[in-house]
């Protein structure tokens, strides 16, 4: 082979391979891989998310979405560590308590324009109370895909065995109040079983006590978030009531006592309706789902929220926002609502919710879910919540002892978090 022939062969080879290589590079550049961090690892959840991602891929063949499950307990810590390490996800679920930190810091990509521009999205049907925490200056930074009311699951068998009135009986008599609920729980507690469990509280996640103290008109801080209100009468009354229920009436399992309602060992538990899936199938007990009892401040409801946000720092924020719009459009919101109740008005009716929550009766859906979402306040949150949460947790340890000075402990807490609230 002479030099001329070799040169020609090389040129032909280049002519063939360069366009192919360039085409490959072009395809690689077009391919978009989106990653969303979530705190669920449930197989059913992941199956649904992957189905939604596959639906998005039909219109966006170059986009692949993967879901990364992070542990629930350390979710926000793991997420911020990823961000600090330069490995931020494109999209993330965000707890309602961390919403202010994420929204106010500018970490999130604005979603309003993308959602409004999405055909058939109809953002207006999502109530402003549901989106309140997730927006700033009129712009939505995360979509509250889950708006789940707190309610009371009841084990009627245990209550009847203890000779107490069931919540259904109390509701029928117009006597479903906190005093009577604790009396029922106490009757079961005195028999050696658990009375009332505030699920996931475990003397650490104190914000879950909001499900009780909101009934007393109490709040940890003022509406504008600037002033500690834990020393005010409603909070002192509420925590004194809870303290009495724990240490004197034995109506609430004390610190360090592990009792599981869903194993049939407690009379009642306050939790979100999605926990209905934990109800036992092998050894079922007669259960009920009722709204939170009436407190001294009247009827009330509490909801927990979770938002989906797009990270501003991501390379594909615009595409990620389009995926969020697709994932939370009316059709997919209906699919999601079997696990995560939607704030969309069109989905807030017993017919739709019954299809996706077969364990609940129409009456339970009406009274607990729909009424709860319509009227409920969201669990308290604040900028710098993790630090405030820790200080209050530490301060409330002084309340969780039999000889506690409730008012004194709350005064100390306010002294410590006061400067943080003003920041």
């Amino acid at each position: 082979m002479n030099k001329n022939t070799t040169l020609k062969s090389v040129l032909v080879a280049l002519a063939l391979t360069v366009p192919l290589a360039c085409g490959g590079i072009a395809n690689a550049q077009d391919a978009v891989n989106l990653r969303m961090t979530i705190w669920s690892a449930a197989e059913a959840h992941l199956k649904l998310f992957n189905e939604i991602a596959a639906g998005f891929k039909k219109d966006h063949p170059n986009v692949t979405v993967t879901f990364e499950s992070l542990p629930f307990d350390t979710y926000t810590t793991a997420l911020t560590t990823q961000i600090a390490g330069g490995n931020a996800p494109d999209m993330a679920w965000i707890f309602e308590t961390a919403a202010y930190d994420f929204v106010n810091s500018g970490a999130l990509y604005p979603l309003t324009d993308t959602l409004k521009a999405t055909q058939g999205y109809n953002l207006d049907e999502v109530s402003t109370t549901a989106t309140e925490r997730w927006q700033k200056d009129g712009t939505l930074y995360a979509y509250p895909f889950s708006t789940s009311p707190f309610a009371v699951f009841v084990n009627n068998d245990l209550i009847k065995t203890a000779g107490a009135k069931t919540p259904a009986e109390l509701i029928a008599a117009g006597e479903w109040t906190w005093d009577n609920a604790i009396a029922t729980a106490s009757a079961v507690g005195q028999k050696g079983k658990g009375g009332l469990i505030v699920r996931d509280f475990n003397y650490q996640i104190w914000q879950n006590l909001t499900s009780i103290w909101n009934g007393f008109g109490a709040a940890p801080w003022s509406a504008d978030g600037k002033t500690c209100t834990m020393t005010e009468k409603p909070m002192v009354d509420a925590l004194t009531f809870i303290h009495d229920a724990i240490f004197n009436k034995k109506a609430i399992p004390g610190p360090g006592e592990n009792v599981d309602f869903f194993a049939g060992n407690a009379a009642m538990t306050i939790t979100q309706i999605s926990r209905a899936s934990l109800l036992p199938k092998d050894k079922p007990f007669s259960w009920d789902l009722v709204p939170l009892p009436k407190g001294p401040a009247g009827d009330y409801a509490l909801i927990g929220q979770a938002g989906i946000g797009v990270m501003q720092s991501g390379k594909n924020a615009k595409t990620a926002a389009e995926f969020v719009a697709y994932m939370t459009n009316p059709e997919n919101s209906a699919k999601l609502s079997q696990f995560f109740p939607s704030a969309r008005k069109s989905l807030l009716n017993a017919e739709v919710l019954k299809k996706t929550n077969p364990l609940l009766s129409k009456e339970q859906i009406d009274k607990v879910v729909i009424a709860g979402i319509a009227t409920g306040k969201v669990i308290p949150g604040h900028t710098g919540f993790a630090q405030i949460q820790q200080i209050v947790r530490s301060g409330l340890d002084a309340v969780w002892r039999s000889d506690a000075d409730v008012a004194g402990a709350l005064k100390t807490i306010c002294g410590q978090i006061g400067p943080l609230l003003k920041r």
Binding site: Y203, P255, G256, N258, A386, Q390, S394
Partner: protein, 310 residues
């Protein structure tokens, strides 16, 4: 004559090989330690420098801002109202762990150094917690230490009502220390056992002939001869105790109050939970200094307390 000498010298130089035996040996030496040097540089020295650099900044991860603040974090450290209590908890934990761990490890090693049937089984049993996953071990202990958990259940068999171990300020600290002691005592026990078996038997025979009682034999022969191991285990245990994290995170989350918030857990909270990465870095510099000073002090003390060093 001079020119001839220079030429001879030049010829001599050009003819001598560059890779002399000394140079080859040096290169071999450097190549042998190269992996370790590279590892220390990448995983120790550079991170240490970065942590110091971060400690001079305010780093808001969410807002993606990284602002130079000079010594502001160090000033914050001096004014931190929780720091004294945190350092106190750290000192109590370290002191408790070192005393209980080393005493128990030495006691077990002496007991298991006997020639008895089935002694290997006991050695394996006491060492086995070392190989168990730390988090799994702690979670199991968490259940045992609940108010209605296994420990109090056992106490009830003897008619005793146990305390709420993880909820009392004193009992919570004792609990974390005990959990950690039982986890790692086997490692020190094995080191002590090896040291005990290295003590020449003739010395004990001579002591017995002289009529020395057993405790005196232990004090005058055993302790001095195993003193290098005591120094090693005490350094390892103290440094380890200052870095305890998982047990606190799983068992108490620093509570009740701040009673079990040790320095590592506190810096984790500041950096990763509260997102004050700059201040968290400053706390880790403080931890580094404490570990360095304690290790240096122990190393200096070796001439007084370690038999072979005198």
């Amino acid at each position: 004559m001079a020119v001839a000498q220079d030429n001879a010298t030049l010829e001599g130089r050009s003819s001598s090989p560059f890779w002399t035996v000394a140079r080859r040996d040096s290169l071999a030496g450097f190549l042998f330690i190269a992996p370790q040097l590279i590892g220390i540089t990448i995983f120790v020295l550079i991170p240490l420098g970065l942590v110091f650099w971060y400690s001079l900044h305010e780093w808001n991860v969410l807002a993606n801002t990284f602002t130079y603040t000079g010594m502001q974090n160090y000033q914050m450290l001096m004014e931190d109202p929780n720091l004294l209590q945190v350092l106190g908890s750290t000192a109590i934990f370290s002191a408790g762990l070192v005393v209980f761990n080393l005493s128990l490890a030495l006691l077990l090693a002496v007991l298991l150094n006997q020639k008895l049937a089935g002694i290997t089984v006991f050695r394996t049993l006491f060492f086995s917690p070392v190989v168990v996953s730390l988090v799994a071990w702690t979670i199991v202990w968490g259940f045992l230490l609940q108010k209605n958990g296994g420990i109090n259940g056992m106490l009830l068999l003897f008619g005793l009502e146990g305390p709420n171990w993880l909820r009392g300020e004193t009992t919570a600290m004792i609990s974390v220390i005990v959990v950690q002691v039982f986890k790692n005592v086997g490692l020190n026990m094995i080191l002590f056992l090896a040291a005990l078996q290295g003590v020449p038997n003739e010395l004990y025979e001579a002591a017995r002939i002289d009529g020395a009682p057993r405790f005196k034999q232990f004090r005058r022969i055993t302790l001095p001869l195993i003193s290098p191991t005591i120094l090693l285990t005490s350094i390892i245990t103290i440094v380890g105790s200052l870095q305890v994290f998982a047990q606190i995170a799983v068992l108490t989350q620093g509570g009740p109050g701040l009673s079990t918030t040790v320095l590592v857990y506190y810096l984790y909270q500041q950096a990763f939970q509260f997102h004050f990465f700059g201040y968290g870095s400053t706390l880790s510099i403080l931890l580094f200094l404490i570990v360095a000073v304690l290790t240096f002090a122990q190393w200096q003390l070796r001439k007084r307390i370690v038999f072979y060093e005198s």
